[in-house]
Amino acid sequence: MIAIFGLLLGIVLGLVLEPTLPAMLQPYLPIMLVAAMDAIFGAARAYLEGTFVDKVFVVSFLSNVLIAALIVFIGDRIGVGAQLSTGVVVVLGIRIFNNAAAIRRALLRA
């Protein structure tokens, strides 16, 4: 229940606050969002499998997001930013699909 409220609050805040993203962060936010999505799907899977621990989740969430941004940042510095961000998105995408499959199996047994 609190989690759903949190989600709604986030959407409302995003709509109301209308911030201008810091230029520094702008190229990395999309990749950080994909990493965050991966972490959230992973958390849902762990919850359904009964292995969810909130501390682990927070740490893995933050580290995934930061590492994803860091990879793209370094890629930008050495001139392969576009390729590296594609790579990160592909890897995270595969993980998201795997997690989604596990969630589906746990929920629907299909």
Partner: protein
């Protein structure tokens, strides 16, 4: 794997160890119907777990988060408790849920920001490189022209303000303006670079509409003075069909039609030649005219337009 329906289905499958404990307990019991069920544990765990006493339910809730993976696999076989567990966890506040709420809040906020940031600069990011280059060049040209104009106007302003030769400057400005307006109104001869467009009409099918289109296209391409077969074309000029041919401002004209246009020759020619423009319309099989375009560095238009004093409009 199909499961036997049990009339009373306790919360099970959340901890395989519990099931194991229940099974051990059953093994210790004297033989009976339930022993068979206990032995058949792989397919029939539900009845075995169904006899778990209530004190073990308490144990079950404690071990939720640390269930080993082997038991997880067993747990997946059982129907429905996942949903029930989710529902129960959803309505019961916990630290994990608060953490989840915080993270989801952050993610939702960031996603909304990102979506909005993208939506705002969508217009340019969707364009292709050549379009962007063309647009940039256009803007550069515009800004260059505007900067020139600013400089010119500032010079004029300074000269007018210094007052030393205010009258002379003002007169010069007025004279220049009169000249510009005379060319525009067609009351003065004009000379300059431009193009001569000759439309030969062997089949006699060139219509006033086609000539009007041609004039409009020349105006779009920046024509400053236009002469059609010796008639100066101005803002109030009209074309029509007379008894034996085309009439411009009341003067009948005959083929070949010669348009003398003063303006940037390159732009004017392009304005006539673009696909679907004057040349392709006139040379279409239905019309069958021949169009020749000659660029010149120096053209002179001597024909004049006699303006009529406005009958109704007064300077406001």
């Amino acid at each position: 794997m199909p499961e036997p329906e049990t009339p009373r289905r306790p919360r099970l499958g959340r901890s395989g160890r519990l099931v194991g404990a229940a099974r051990r307990r059953q093994a210790r019991r004297p033989s009976g119907v339930e022993d068979e069920q206990a032995l058949d544990s792989t397919t029939n765990e539900a009845p075995a777990a169904a006899v778990v006493s209530s004190d073990e339910h308490a144990l079950l809730t404690d071990e939720v988060s640390s269930a080993p993976s082997r038991d997880v696999r067993q747990a997946q076989h059982r129907p429905l408790p996942t949903w029930r567990r989710m529902l129960r966890d959803l309505v019961r506040p916990s630290r994990a849920q608060a953490v989840m709420a915080l993270i989801l809040c952050l993610c939702a906020m960031a996603t909304v920001w990102q979506v909005r940031a993208r939506a705002s600069d969508q217009a340019y990011s969707q364009m292709r490189r050549p379009e962007l280059v063309a647009m940039l060049e256009q803007l550069n040209t515009n800004s260059g022209q505007l900067r020139d104009e600013i400089r010119r106007l500032e010079t004029t302003k300074r000269e007018l303000q210094t007052g030393a030769n205010t009258t002379r400057v003002a007169q010069e400005q007025a004279r220049k303006r009169v000249q510009e307006l005379q060319i525009l109104a067609g009351t003065a001869p004009a000379q300059g670079p431009g193009v001569t467009i000759t439309i030969a009409d062997p089949q006699g099918k060139v219509s006033p509409e086609l000539l009007l289109d041609a004039i409009e296209e020349m105006r779009d391409a920046g024509a400053e003075a236009i002469d059609l077969n010796g008639v100066r074309v101005v803002a109030s000029s009209w074309l029509g069909r007379g008894t034996d041919g085309i009439v411009v401002d009341g003067v009948p004209i005959e083929a070949p039609y010669v348009l003398v246009v003063i303006g940037d020759p390159q732009t004017l020619e392009e304005g006539a030649r673009f696909r679907g423009g004057l040349v392709s319309q006139a040379q279409a099989p239905q019309v069958g005219a021949q169009v020749t375009i000659r660029q010149s560095d120096e053209l002179t238009i001597t024909s004049l337009h006699t303006p009529k004093a406005p009958q109704f409009a007064r300077p406001a």
